[in-house]
């Protein structure tokens, strides 16, 4: 399988890899996928008091396209409000990375990871 230049770039230089400390203020986590399916994404967002996502980090078990999709969304969510982050659609991710049809599920998983992280944030806030 050949990869787009953007997938290769994110794969070789993944942005924002890592995890936030468990006690850090405003950190919410979304974990989606399953090892049996071959993809697990963990996306963490750090939301400031003003409701804006200040920082994001990820770790992904999966193929190159899954790693690139999650790397990309860490860049995209930064500076957005949590409601704006929810507007990120898998089709945008797939288009940006020029994912082939068999890899569309990677972009769906990345969108789900954002939703899961936001849901965790809202749960913590009791919203």
């Amino acid at each position: 399988m050949s990869y787009s230049v953007k997938v290769l770039d994110h794969y070789e230089n993944p942005r924002n890899v890592g995890s936030f400390g468990k006690e850090e203020e405003g950190v919410a986590t979304g974990m989606v996928g399953a090892p049996a399916c071959g993809d697990v994404m963990k996306l963490q967002i750090k939301v400031g008091k003003d409701g804006i996502i200040e920082d994001a980090k990820f770790k992904t078990y999966g193929c190159g396209s899954a790693i690139a999709s999650s790397s990309l969304v860490t860049e995209w969510v930064k500076g957005k409000t949590i409601e704006q982050a929810l507007d990120i659609k898998n089709t945008q991710i797939a288009e940006e990375l020029a994912l082939p049809p068999v890899k569309i599920h990677c972009s769906i998983l990345a969108e789900d990871a954002i939703k899961a992280a936001v849901a965790d944030y809202k749960k913590q806030r009791g919203v």
Binding site: M1, Y3, P35, A36, C37, K59, G62, C63, A66, A116
Partner: protein, 403 residues
């Protein structure tokens, strides 16, 4: 000088040995006659070449040249053997036995036979990939007419107990087919001793050209087949079609070289494989797939836990290897062979197959070991599963959101 990428996928295909290529070339331009042309020297010359090649193929497996029929490759041989025998002996019974870990060329042919009204039992294998003979015996029925078991597995390289299965089949009068595509030049094959009725061969897994193979059809006791390809009655009616002289000459030469060199070569390749294994053995959470004793010397199939196979392939693109990960196949399913061993899906997704061959060197293996060490660390840094395991989480207790 090290040339990149390094080819470590010899079970997918092998390069044609230069000595083989050299022998083939005259049969394209100068010696182009149709081996079936009985009326002139052009035909006599190529017929002699075809028969010489047939002898070489027969010699490698201790068979009679008259028992060798040319085909386009092991897939066709498997189709001819299974459909041909099932159809010919269908009056005796409708039951066929094979393994879940067979090559698709056998499994898919069996599916087609099921559609034609045959019943097929797909046997489980043990955790090490080998067939349990007791399980096999228990599966036999009074209407079993055909058994098909591969000699050497293409993914994990394990060697099935062909001699023992053959004894059982012969005693019960059941036709026994063996797919030996991955076995030639790797293990001794003595059809004088083995009670095998049909055996499939391929040239391109043994340093011959692609597009040519053969089927061994036993004469004593005689095995009958219904032809699947009809036409000019070539190959004593078993397989019509003008013979591809240059390909056949190539297969003959490749099998001759295998016969002469396999003892020395397998020692050398086995030492390289063991060097690779030793070099990787200090990495945490590495699992070997398949039995290490009953295994061909050139195969190493390993799961690097918590690293998905395709991302591993991307990271080690200087190495040409293959993976059991779903992402490397069209089906989105991880390797059915590894799943049949009872491996968790996650380890199947994380598997890498290294298959070494004639042209690999120690320098290449050392490069591979170094590269793998370097990349495994960074990929595990990227893996949420690795992080959880380091934090003491038992992954089997996690409620995953499957998709």
């Amino acid at each position: 000088m090290l040339r990149l990428p390094i080819y470590l996928d010899y079970s997918a295909t092998t390069p044609v040995d230069p000595r083989v290529a050299e022998k083939m070339i005259p049969y394209l331009v100068e010696k182009f006659g149709n081996p079936a042309s009985r009326s002139h020297a052009f035909g006599w010359e190529t017929e002699a070449a075809v028969e010489e090649a047939r002898e070489e193929v027969a010699k490698l497996v201790h068979a009679d040249p008259k028992e060798i029929v040319w085909t386009s490759g092991a897939t066709e041989s498997n189709n001819l053997a299974l459909k041909g025998a099932a159809n010919f002996y269908s009056g005796k019974g409708k039951h066929i036995i094979t393994l879940k870990t067979e090559h698709k060329a056998v499994l898919d042919t069996c599916r087609e036979l099921e559609r034609q009204g045959f019943e097929v039992t797909y046997l489980d294998v043990l955790e090490n990939g080998l067939l349990d003979l007791e399980v096999f015996k228990a599966a036999l029925r009074s209407d079993t007419i055909l058994v098909s078991v591969m000699f050497v597995n293409n993914e994990i390289g394990v060697i099935q107990p062909i001699a023992e299965i053959g004894e059982i089949c012969r005693e019960k009068g059941i036709i026994f087919h063996v797919d030996a595509a991955q076995a030639t030049g790797k293990v001794e094959i003595d059809l004088g001793a083995l009670k095998v009725d049909l055996m499939s061969f391929s040239a391109h897994k043994t340093y011959g050209p692609k597009g040519i193979g053969a089927l061994y059809i036993r004469r004593k006791p005689r095995v009958r087949l219904e032809a699947q390809m009809h036409g000019g009655g070539h190959e004593r009616g078993f397989r019509s079609g003008t013979l591809a002289t240059h390909q056949i000459v190539g297969m003959g030469e490749a099998f001759r070289l295998a016969r002469e060199e396999m003892a020395v070569e397998n020692k050398r390749i086995g030492a390289l494989r063991d060097r690779l294994l030793k070099g990787l053995s200090d990495i945490d959470q590495v699992f070997i797939n398949g039995d290490m004793t009953h295994r061909v010397p050139h195969n190493l199939n390993i799961s690097f836990a918590y690293i998905e196979g395709e991302s591993m392939l991307m990271a080690i693109k200087d190495l040409a290897v293959s993976s059991g990960s779903a992402c490397t196949s069209a089906s989105l399913e991880p390797s059915y062979v590894l799943r049949a061993l009872g491996r968790e899906d996650e380890l199947a997704h994380s598997s890498i197959r290294f298959t070494l061959g004639r042209f690999n060197t120690e320098e290449e293996i050392d490069y591979a070991i170094k590269l793998l060490h370097k990349k495994i660390g960074s990929l595990r840094e990227l893996s949420p599963l690795w992080e959880m395991v380091q934090d003491g989480v038992d992954l089997s207790t996690v409620q995953w959101a499957a998709h």
